[in-house]
């Protein structure tokens, strides 16, 4: 996180980060609480709407920017991390948070995910994982169980599920956590730490799709705080995450990699100075 240039004059509450636009989500969708967690985290960090930007792709989860009062960017499907990296590199003074879904982030957006982890630009990546494409009405995503039946994959895809946290670690993310939308304050706390940690922070939020995966209502009984604390050893974290059942919550890894710094010259030349190279 970079401190906003304009210092807050009036304290800002969570409510100030909500927008007046009504979500289009189904009643009971897990994503409602994620909005709450975002606003709480922003308020508790003392951010200001004008210095905060939330970037997203396409999907139910990706609709979040419009429900917040902050600068928002609702781009195309799967490319939110690229847009966010451009924004943060061009405007290092902003706090940049990216909101995505398991389809947007791990399927079409998978390459940017890996490379964002490597590049380690200072921003926070939040994926609302419901193991399904909600917006397009119920197709399997990379995190969907191989035997989940759907119209597009009768009898299941038969494809191994994608382990986002393992990939994030393997690719070099600097902060890896899992949260549950049913616990908005726990999620807000994780978001606060994610935003505060320099470099690329990845937060996977289990967020039920009550319409196409009604059985996910049971997730509230499955989640629990991870029995181990935060480690800064990627190998240890990998070992732990590879063997967990996907329901352990908390900050599982926090590293110390310096955030990406694009090559900078002295930066004090005028454009006309560049002409010297052409002169005969």
């Amino acid at each position: 996180m970079t401190t906003a240039t304009a210092r807050p004059t009036v304290p800002i509450s969570a409510r100030d980060f909500k927008s007046d636009y009504n979500p289009i989500w189904c009643p009971g969708c897990g994503d409602y609480s994620v909005v709450l967690s975002f606003t709480r985290a922003f308020a508790s960090l003392g951010l200001r709407p004008e210095n905060t930007a939330v970037v997203s792709g396409i999907g139910c989860s990706s609709r979040i920017p419009a429900y917040l009062t902050s600068y928002g960017f609702h781009g195309v499907h799967g490319r939110s991390l690229a847009a966010a990296a451009g924004l943060k590199l061009a405007r290092p003074d902003l706090t940049v948070v990216v909101a995505s879904g398991d389809g947007d982030g791990y399927s079409i957006g998978g390459n940017h995910f890996m490379h964002a982890c490597r590049r380690n630009v200072d921003m926070t990546y939040v994926v609302m994982d419901n193991h399904v494409y909600g917006m397009t009405k119920g197709q399997p995503s990379p995190t969907t169980e191989p035997d989940w039946n759907s119209k597009l994959s009768p009898g299941g895809t038969g494809v191994r599920t994608f382990h986002p946290l393992v990939i994030a670690l393997a690719a070099g993310a600097n902060f890896v956590a899992r949260a549950f939308s049913g616990d908005p304050s726990g999620t807000a706390n994780v978001l606060v730490e994610a935003i505060k940690t320099p470099g690329f922070s990845f937060v996977e939020i289990l967020s039920p799709c009550v319409t196409f995966r009604p059985e996910q209502r049971e997730w509230k009984n499955a989640v629990r705080p991870a029995p181990v604390g935060t480690t800064n050893d990627p190998a240890r974290a990998a070992r732990y995450i590879m063997t967990d059942d996907g329901f352990n919550l908390g900050i599982l890894y926090r590293g110390e990699r310096a955030p990406y710094q694009p090559p900078m010259g002295r930066g004090n030349k005028q454009p006309a100075d560049l002409e010297k190279g052409f002169a005969i």
Binding site: Y71, A82, A83, G86, K88, A90, G265, I280
Partner: protein, 582 residues
């Protein structure tokens, strides 16, 4: 046809073309570059096109040079001099380096015989033991002999050549003396060979001159236009735009990132521009194809960006290192939905600078994506140019004031342009959206909002006053040539040759392809009876586009051919003269 300066004697020409060829490792590109630098130093204009076989390294190569007393925008139809270090695979260049009976072919008989096609050309063959001469000077290389020969044949002052060699080799103390000796030997050989390929003395140097490639020029135009963020993915022949920008941006406080792919690079620049920083990427056909979806996002969300497309042979991977003007259709038409965008095309190497700068200005002013259609010829040709004027086009985006009352990002204005709130601005937080939206930016699938926003986005482009820079219009007459980009050079030469034959023509070289300037074109073509549309592609994409947007007057003819061979002034000249007499 080679211009001869009236009264300057048969041997003093205003334009001379020289090719230097050789197989891998012969150093012909170095020789060509030195020749160009020396000519520039001595006060001539010139340009050099690199041509090589498909090999990554080590295949046959040719430096195609042309020098003149006036600025040059294209190669000539033929070559006055070809100096071949060896004959290997030289026949592959036969189409690119046409010789005729007035040409001079210098080559080494120890390497065998010249290729059949050149024997048939009836060019004078001057035998020269190039390798032998180099061998005799210990530590020297054949390409330095060739440099001396070529320089001598066209009458470059030895001082200029020496100075360039000294500058280039200043770090290699040992190499310098033998190189200078080889150049000297080359000059001697040239004086023995003789010929009439001497350049007329250069005119006075009125303005500062640059030696620059179109890709560098585009990069500098971007910086001058205010671009401070660039993301890109390497691709031939656009990579040099990015490579020039990398250190340049760092120097002026900007940022360049190498992205994982073109999808990332264009979305990165959209993100950066959303953040208020003028942004650009450079690519070629395959990359442009991958950017199509996000270009539509920039249209819908009204985020200014510039994409420099350095065109190469298509379709698909096509012919990566050769020039073609075949991305017109995709540039003007290639987005899904109704997606108005700006498309501009520079029409000379140095115009790559000003037109790219203009593109940044238009993108920023109109909050729209702008595509710059350059091509491999411009991009990779190095040319001696007059320093381009200081254009006043600077990106100026209409931004929202702090705490603007009931801020509406997509407010419906008369011009179609709405103030854009830049993150950091208090009280105007909004969400930019690629979904159709209300004036506030709230997603809407309503027919009214859709129609209003479609019309607004169209209006802001159509209503803008683009000024005279939309096209270069020259001449009078009832035959007009309408063209764009790198065909402009040969068309200009053809027109002046036709004028010498008493055939007056008009030129309309369109710099602004989209939005179409129907009224302006109609005015430019008023009274015209015949229109020749010139472009370098197979299917006549430019003509089809013109037909879709304009009612072209009178009889219309298409003159086109795909790459990689350039369209030559000579064939256009004949076309114009024949047509005028038809």
């Amino acid at each position: 046809m080679t211009d001869v300066k009236k009264g300057a004697g048969a041997a003093a020409r205003t334009s001379v073309s020289v090719a230097v060829t050789g197989s891998g490792g012969a150093g012909v590109m170095t020789a060509g570059n030195m020749l160009l630098a020396a000519a520039a130093k001595a006060g001539w204009y010139g340009l050099m096109v690199r041509s090589s076989g498909p090999q990554i390294r080590g295949g046959e190569a040719a430096a195609l040079c042309r020098f003149a007393t006036h600025p040059l925008d294209c190669l000539d139809d033929r070559f006055d001099v070809l100096v071949a270090v060896d004959w290997e695979n030289l026949h592959r260049f036969a189409d690119e380096i046409p010789l005729d009976s007035a040409s001079l072919l210098v080559g080494d008989p120890a390497q065998g015989n010249p290729p059949e096609v050149y024997v048939k050309s009836a060019a004078r063959y001057a035998q020269l033991g190039i390798k032998g001469i180099a061998k005799a000077i210990s530590g020297s290389w054949p390409n330095m002999v060739v440099l001396g020969v070529a320089a001598g044949l066209i009458g470059l002052p030895k001082d200029a050549v020496r100075a360039v060699v000294e500058k280039t080799l200043k770090k290699s103390r040992d190499g310098l003396a033998p190189s200078l000796a080889a150049v000297e030997a080359g000059y001697e050989a040239a004086s023995r060979i003789g010929g009439d390929a001497k350049l007329a003395p250069p005119g006075p140097r009125s303005e500062p001159r640059w030696l620059i490639s179109g890709n560098q020029a585009a990069g500098y135009g971007a910086v001058r236009g205010g671009v401070r963020f660039v993301a890109g993915y390497p691709i031939t022949p656009a990579t040099e735009v990015l490579e020039w920008l990398a250190p340049a941006l760092a120097d002026v406080g900007g940022v360049l990132v190498q992205a994982e792919d073109e999808l990332a690079s264009i979305n990165m620049i959209i993100g950066a521009s959303f953040g208020g920083v003028p942004s650009l990427t450079a690519t070629s056909g395959p990359g442009l194809s991958l950017m199509i979806e996000a270009l539509g996002l920039a249209v819908a969300a009204e985020v200014p960006i510039v994409v420099v497309d350095v065109m190469r042979g298509g379709p698909s991977t096509g012919i990566p290192a050769k020039s073609e003007q075949s991305d017109v259709s995709i540039a003007v038409n290639g987005l899904h939905g109704d997606a108005p965008r700006i498309v501009v095309a520079p029409n000379s190497v140095s115009d790559c600078l000003v037109t790219t700068q203009w593109a940044v200005h238009l993108a920023e002013t109109l909050q729209s994506p702008a595509i710059v259609l350059s091509d491999q010829f411009f991009g990779q040709t190095r040319a001696v140019v007059d320093r381009p004027p200081d254009a006043t086009y600077a990106g100026r985006r209409l931004t929202a004031a702090p705490n603007a009352d009931a801020y509406k990002r997509y407010a419906v204005t008369e011009s179609g342009i709405s103030p854009m709130a830049i993150p950091g601005n208090p009280g105007t937080a909004y969400t930019a959206d690629g979904l159709e939206h209300t004036d506030r930016g709230i997603p809407s699938s309503g027919a009214r909002d859709h129609t209003i926003q479609l019309a607004k986005r169209e209006r802001k482009l159509l209503g803008h006053e683009y000024g005279d820079f939309w096209a270069d219009i020259e001449g009078e007459g009832d035959i007009a040539v309408v063209t764009f980009g790198s065909c402009t050079g040969p068309v200009r030469e053809a027109r002046s040759r036709a004028a010498a034959d008493g055939v007056q023509t008009r030129l309309v070289s369109m710099r602004l392809l989209a939005p179409a300037q129907a009224d302006r074109l109609a005015k430019a073509l008023a009274g015209v009876k015949r229109v020749l549309v010139v472009e370098q592609n197979h299917s006549g994409q430019f003509l089809k586009y013109l037909r879709s947007e304009f009612q072209l007057p009178g009889e219309v003819k298409s003159f086109r051919r795909p790459g990689p061979l350039p369209i030559r002034a000579d064939e256009l000249h004949h076309q114009l003269v024949d047509w005028s007499r038809a």
